[in-house]
Chain length 433, copies 2
């Protein structure tokens, strides 16, 4: 955020004028935004336009009769709306529409995480060039006010680490595998039936949704510019019920963790399933909820949690951003501090303990072979865990490794994969905390 541009207070009349809002996209979130603006509008906000393709099939009777419905985006641009709420999602045409709105003198509020993760820095500059706001609190963790909390409430700290559960679908699936003892595919079907999972399930379960959010969080909390493609991302498809059993034996559970950590001149960042201690706040997130832990040099750990997705919680974030724009649209304040964002080397090579689960056709000498490879790579084995009751033809067991760089473990595993006793590829996860 930048210091004020205007030094004098505005005449009350200008500041007090209603802020006129055009909703672009009338899906689940758009409807929820309209509902809040129709039933409990914060002072000074007024819904004036709704855009959607084939708008007639979207029209509802419960918004104010003066709201203009249109299926031409140009009508929005030409209108007297002060703020465009972009809820169409994706990059195309969202990016062009955001630019055109800003060019035509309208501020933009968006929940579009992919757009902001990929184009946020240049769109923020573009907005400033046109004297407009671009605010995107709803793009990360829905109704949880984590971006504003990091940007404003913790502005006095030096945040060095963030870790979060940023994808509710993954958390729901992992919770189902853990508690209902169901296989991954069945848990995924349930998530889709409940409407959690994105239409393209891969976005969720392969981690692309979470890494876009992590990129945005890293800029805001750690002031480091990172692009989604720079974040090593690993999905949850390989996690099985047996892994929860071994995780429990280690005092842990398994969550899909998005994390970023500043260490000198490097930003370590990654999205992947990980073992987290059961005493950690990350272990206690149930179902489709989200949680973010930030660690500051001075304030220690601060935790934000709640509903990270869904129409109403996401709409709360959108409307909160609209309140912010209405309060600040004439005063020269900006929601995000663009200037302080640095470019740093980005790495996924965390130093951490590791969990490796093997599934083998049992025969003598397997442990010796593994120990031999790890040893040659200078990796110390911490423990070997083998739960009873499994057939020798498909025997799962776990090796935990003392703290070392992830890259070294990958190199060892590349060798190990070539050995002839596997019946499934080894599954590696970091052990946090």
């Amino acid at each position: 955020m930048v210091a004020s541009l205007k030094l004098t207070k505005l005449p009350v009349s200008v500041a007090a004028r209603e802020c006129r809002i055009a909703l672009v996209g009338f899906g689940t979130v758009g409807r929820s935004v309209a509902r809040i603006l129709s039933t409990r509008p914060p002072q000074g906000l007024r819904l004036t336009h709704v855009y959607n393709r084939n708008v007639e099939r979207k029209r509802v009777g419960w918004v104010h009769e003066h709201v203009n419905w249109t299926q031409e985006f140009d009508d929005v641009l030409k209108s007297d709306a002060d703020v465009v709420v972009e809820l169409v999602g994706g990059l195309d045409p969202a990016e062009q529409w955001v630019r055109r709105a800003l060019e035509s003198g309208k501020s933009v509020v968006t929940a579009n995480k992919q757009l902001i993760a990929r184009k946020g820095p240049e769109l923020l500059k573009f907005a400033r060039q046109h004297g407009q706001h671009l605010v995107y609190g709803a793009s990360v963790a829905g109704g949880i006010p984590v971006l504003s909390g990091l940007q404003e409430g913790l502005a006095g700290d030096h945040i060095v680490k963030i870790a979060g559960i940023l994808n509710g679908t993954c958390n729901f699936i992992l919770s189902q595998i853990e508690n209902q003892h169901m296989p991954f595919a069945e848990a995924l079907e349930q998530a889709q039936a409940k409407g959690f999972a994105e239409a393209n399930a891969s976005e969720d379960i392969d981690g692309f949704d979470a890494r876009a959010k992590l990129a945005i969080l890293s800029r805001t909390a750690l002031h480091v510019n990172v692009w989604p493609e720079q974040i090593a991302t690993h999905g949850i498809r390989e996690v099985e019920e047996i892994d929860f059993g071994y995780a429990h034996d280690l005092g842990c559970t398994i969550r899909q963790i998005s994390r970023a950590e500043l260490q000198e001149k490097t930003l370590f960042a990654g999205v992947q399933p990980a073992l987290v201690p059961r005493s950690s706040p990350l272990a206690r997130v149930s179902g489709s909820q989200n949680l973010v832990v930030s660690t500051g040099e001075f304030g220690g750990e601060t935790v934000f949690s709640g509903f990270g997705a869904g129409g109403d919680p996401t709409a709360v974030a959108v409307v909160s951003d609209l309140v912010w724009v209405a309060r600040n649209r004439h005063n020269g304040a900006y929601a995000y501090d663009v200037e302080s964002v640095r470019e740093l080397q980005v790495s996924s090579d965390f130093e951490t303990r590791h969990y490796v689960r093997f599934k083998v056709a049992d025969k003598p000498g397997i442990l010796a072979a593994l120990a031999n490879v790890f040893s040659r790579h200078e990796i110390n084995v911490d423990a070997v865990l083998q739960r009873p009751g499994h057939a020798k033809s498909e025997l799962p067991f776990v090796v935990t490794l003392e703290p070392c760089r992830t890259q070294k473990v990958q190199e060892a595993l590349n060798e190990i994969r070539k050995l002839d006793f596997h019946v499934a590829a080894p599954v590696e996860m970091p052990i946090l905390g």
Copy 2:
């Protein structure tokens, strides 16, 4: 060469000028604020003055040599400082000093919960009359950005309920009774030895600290003006280890809960020990940490937690407020929405389940006598719990009551107290969730 120093300074716009800070009070929090401003000052903040009584004994070498140390508050008023950070605490002279600072054209950042709880509304108006900011994010929950989160990040929701653990000392003491099986007095001694408890322990353990914070939270989150004296407040002195045993039998633990809830035209508010389900976020707060759960009509439950006290976390909140003032001091924005705060009837008469623990000299007919009184007051007994292994001369047992107004339970207990079998006064707590 000295004479040319002035000329080498570039003319800078007023907006870009550094924000000069006078620290008033150099105790634990003041030192931590100075440390952040000396080691990692956010852009645009500069410590220029430190006030303390007998300042010489406080002086440290690690702040910038240009900082002015003084033991005369008038020196601060006459100085070129832009913001006064009030960290002397209490009402007198803090209130007068805050007013004089605002009058002399300085904004004020304070961590003083008693001052803000009692005088906040009029001081905010006074600040606006003088075109200055008064910001107090550090007055509730220290380093956890809950006030800004409720005010800004959840501005789009309609918050109907807040519940929190706002006093770390009480939480530490209750945790020790529960986990270390120590009596209240010993746990209190430990808290004092660790420096958690306030000098006057009653402020913490009798709930006065928490109720001041709840008053501030209620204004911010629920937009209702409530004074500390209107909040029914009950301390934790009567909670014993046996209560944790019975609470566990009921799937709960015991925490000192501060809560406020909007119901039509009434604000229900209270501070007291309560049974909370072990699955609740409130049950998971360990040691001296703080946690706040807000419930919104649209966004559901949002949880904020972290370090609610201590020099460094509180200093983070102070410095974050300073960043806010520096960003907004010339633009006419205000940190708190004064206009929307309403006056409502305040009541402590929550409708809830109740836990009542008796300690009696056992004889026949006690349960019948209790049941008789509850029945005459139209209160339904839910369950009777009696753990084995206690002497008949001092027998503890618990009665749980179906949901009813607290006032009715109090009336019944006033009758029950007169019965002749008690060896200790009955202990009543609500059962939440």
